[in-house]
């Protein structure tokens, strides 16, 4: 794990990159990193996330700034700009059931090729998907997802990079921290090694590549 300035962290990300961004309606999204993506005008991005939040919040800022080419999300209902850009053909929106999205990301980070889920069977979410029967029940084969970068928000990080999340700000962050080539963490609190007890570490240090230093 290396510490890095916010500016340098975002400068690493090339236009056209695929990003996983933690958060659920903006809660648990690394807001300073999102702001810096807008500041540096990183465009043509693909974002994998639970949702596109709302205008002015989290990933909503990337939508408003028209930095996204494609989003893979479970929900866009609270951001009318996402719908407008989708209908205008400016933004590709891939809708994935939320539990399937979480498992596809986890599979990418846990070295699985994919998972079998009954969610979506018999719906338009099954279109183009392989169906596999196990024990007499039909499941969709949902392939793993990975990204170039994971932008993760933590409540506490220690100097080694061990992470702890707070309450509902955990959401997609731990699975995304496993599923990208480069993992960038913005933490509310940075603490000495040992402050987080081993049993309370939610993301172990070795998977974290960069911890954004306080400004």
């Amino acid at each position: 794990m290396k510490t890095i300035t916010l500016s340098d962290a975002v400068a690493m990300i090339p236009a056209g990159a695929t990003l996983m961004i933690g958060g659920f309606m903006g809660v648990g999204t690394p807001e300073p990193v999102v702001d810096e993506l807008v500041q540096q005008q990183k465009g043509d991005l693909t974002v994998i996330a639970n949702d596109t939040a709302a205008p002015g919040i989290g990933i909503g800022k990337l939508i408003t700034a028209k930095l996204l080419r494609r989003v893979i999300v479970s929900h866009i209902g609270l951001n009318p700009e996402t719908q407008q850009q989708m209908l205008a053909g400016e933004l590709q929106v891939d809708l994935v059931p939320q539990g399937t999205l979480a498992e596809r990301i986890r599979a990418g980070g846990f070295g699985l090729g994919g998972i079998l889920t009954a969610t979506g069977v018999g719906t338009i979410a099954a279109e183009g998907k392989q169906t596999v029967a196990v024990g007499g029940r039909d499941y969709l084969l949902e392939p793993a997802l990975r990204a170039d970068f994971a932008l993760v928000h933590a409540f506490i990080a220690d100097y080694l990079g061990n992470l702890q999340y707070a309450l509902t700000a955990r959401n997609f962050n731990p699975v995304m921290a496993m599923a990208a080539e480069t993992v960038v963490v913005q933490a509310e609190n940075i603490v000495p090694v040992g402050v987080i007890a081993p049993d309370h570490v939610m993301t172990p240090a070795p998977v974290v590549d960069y911890l954004v230093a306080k400004g």
Binding site: F24, M25, G26, V27, G28, N50, D51, A53, A54, V73, S74, H75, I76, G77, L78, Q83, M86, V93, L95, P97, Q98, G99, T100, L101, A102, E103, I105, R106, T117, A118, T119, G120, V121, G122, T123, I124, A125, F155, Y165, A166, L167, T168, A169, R170, N171, F172, N173, P174, V175, M202
Partner: protein, 233 residues
Amino acid sequence: MNAQTLIAQRIAQELRDGMLVNLGIGIPTLVANFVPKGMHVFFQSENGLIGTGPVADPGMALPWLTDAGGKPVTALPGASTFDSAMSFGLIRGGHLDLTVLGGLQVDQHGRLANWMVPGKMVPGMGGAMDLVAGAKRVIVAMQHTAKGRPKIVRECSLPLTSDRPVDLVVTELAVIGFSEGRATLLETMDGVTVEEVVAATEADLALAPELSQKGGAKPVPESAPTAAVGETV
């Protein structure tokens, strides 16, 4: 009592001690207000919380503690938090005893459509497909009709949320079950006749032998301004 309250109160009668329950946005959320006294029910928010409490008092909100709509909530003693993979493991894995969801249409086999209106409203399915596919019991809370047109139909014109039938639909007029693979009228609300329910329903309705009349008050008319609430999850 308005239609929403009537529906929420009736659904609350389905709660049992120790249940893990997930409530959708809209009418379903109101069910939490009618948990019978002395009963302990675990409410899950699919963003990663069991033990969701009421909205925080002014000045007490914490940005890291929200419901699935992103609104600040509180946590009750004994609450637990977890990541999204675990949250949907609970939903799909047979651990969620009950989910209550809004509905746009339900077909005569009980199959629900509640996540999109092609060309008009494409919010994404969020957790709805997992909830319907995975919960042990699925109850739909919705007004019986929309702009005068039945929402319990022969065949859904809107895209399905799951091919797994829901267990119960509760409206301001009636309680309809699908345990026999077809729509069965189980109860009419207080002051509502079987004929009124049948007239407001497109799907063929079987009549349960033990058909009873429940609920506390006449429903509000369909044109009440509450009609648009709780239709999506």
